[in-house]
Amino acid sequence: MTGELILEVRDLVKHFEVGGGLFGGPPGLVKAVDGVSFTIRRGETLGLVGESGCGKTTTGRCILQLERPTSGQVIFEGIDLTTLGQVELRAVRRRVQVIFQDPYSSLNPRMTVGQIIAEPLGVHGIVPERRGREARMRSLLDRCGLLPAMALRYPHELSGGQRQRVGIARALAMEPALIVCDEPVSALDVSIQAQIINLLEELQAEFGLTYLFVAHDLSVVRHISDRVAVMYLGKIVEITDRKSLYDDPLHPYTKALLSAVPIPDPAVEAGRERTVLGGEVPSPLNPPAGCVFHPRCPIAIDDCRRAVPELREIRPEHRVACIRV
């Protein structure tokens, strides 16, 4: 079901300069994304997981060219997006869409739902005539599980789940090939989360969509992803197919993450072994030398402080950045 490469990210680096200004404090460099490489095949879902500040959202924004990478390449359907100017990017943006975590802050509060969905159809010349746009907008509403009457409502009149459906309909209007889903369900209640996840999966099957699914919830990522990359402090520490990652995680950080997820069953929880990681994620302003995970790692040795571990292929299609594996 999955075909040729649709996206290839090579050595992506995004540094932010901070401080230095009038009130900014000492100048510094935040290495938000620090040498990230992965590929996505057409029709598949790559899950990108990690905790806040690990660089997963910035990676997504760099792919969309909402942030211009410091260095590296983002090759989408054979074209390196980092070399394109704003005008050329507009054409590509139709094919690469985004769904944000908080649909409320990403929908124009002064436009009706109908206008929000119909506008890009005109702007990008997807459906040039007005009447056609109206019909198209209605079919998108329907496809995303919204009643026709919703077209006249404003975003503040909708529930969180309905707003996220509008965000999905708007992205879908552009007939994209790839959608970057940035925490699309984490602001929703659990009963609504499942509705949206099912919708995303149905749309993927129907329109042959490819997803980069950025999230912190490991159970949700397992459900929706074909392959999963785990990020920590700007780097990918492990990347492989879903089954290997969840059945046989190799990186100590992946193991700790999985063990930290509570399972909704007291009988299972009672007998579970827990690895509670000490400490906190270090500041990306001043990352530790060597392996960035070593200060919290239960199996770190002296060598971990020295060399930055490379992402090595331990088994076919299973890459891990750890010298102890």
Binding site: D189, R222, P262, G278
Partner: protein, 331 residues
Amino acid sequence: MSEVLLDVRDLHTHFAISGAVVRAVDGVSWDVFPGETVALVGESGCGKSVSALSVMRLVTRPAGRIVSGRIVFKGRDLLELSEDEMRRVRGKDIGMIFQEPMTSLNPVLSVGRQLTEPVEIHLGMSPAQSRARAIELLTLVGVSDAERRLRQYPHQFSGGMRQRMMIAMALSCNPALILADEPTTALDVTIQAQILELMKGLSRRLGAAMLMITHNLGVVARYADRVNVMYAGKIVERGTAREIYANPRHPYTLGLLHSVPRLDEPRRAKLDPIPGQPPDLSRLPAGCSFAPRCPFVIERCRAEVPPLDLVGADHLSACWVASELGKPVPA
């Protein structure tokens, strides 16, 4: 069994919002015994946070009002106390931990001052004693270098550190009960695990009971002794954690448990969401509030509100068809 610590009886808390009455808490009763961890579980707007705020009498006036009910804590009805008497209960006998530590800490007071103030006021400690207590508390919740940290301000703390500070404040006067409202929702999973282990360990060691308010079914399974499931302002099911998860007897609880993907089970092709969305609390349907979303609905559900009745030992459910809900078939 020892004597009940907190006994909430038939509590009604309403909000008047643009002419309509929102029944945020619509006649709920629950209790907490000394030393145990009780969970209030439900989705946004189900009334779980308002229940806790009602116990602390912190419901915002004039919109919000505790209309009726009793909140008996250690034999006294908190709703009959004067504002002065209530102030002596808050922070002393009952500690509270909120979801968002940054908005509940004072940004212009040092960490040290925020920790020393309650013990000076409630326990009459001298400045020297309270300082020693503050250092002891910060160390207890795992903040290293406590002495230096006392001089810092909340914005200099990370999210996890701030939540540790909130826990230290809540514990400072040795409360008999801690109300924890989504204490780890804003935190990352590895930090969430640290904080929950810390809270559970401390409440065991210090013998404090805990009311845990959360939407996270995994957190409840890991830490709660007893569970109350709330929907649209009412408790729809109550029981021991093991019983609720192994043998849910309300369609809403069943739906919640089925709608989340689980790491310990084979991956399912499709999730089973609860259809529709929660009702508008100012325009509740007649009969059972869950009826419009319920797959087991019968005629009676749309006419009569089901009472919270026993369905097993220490297990209650508010559902007309509870007796027919057997063990769920795993999907």
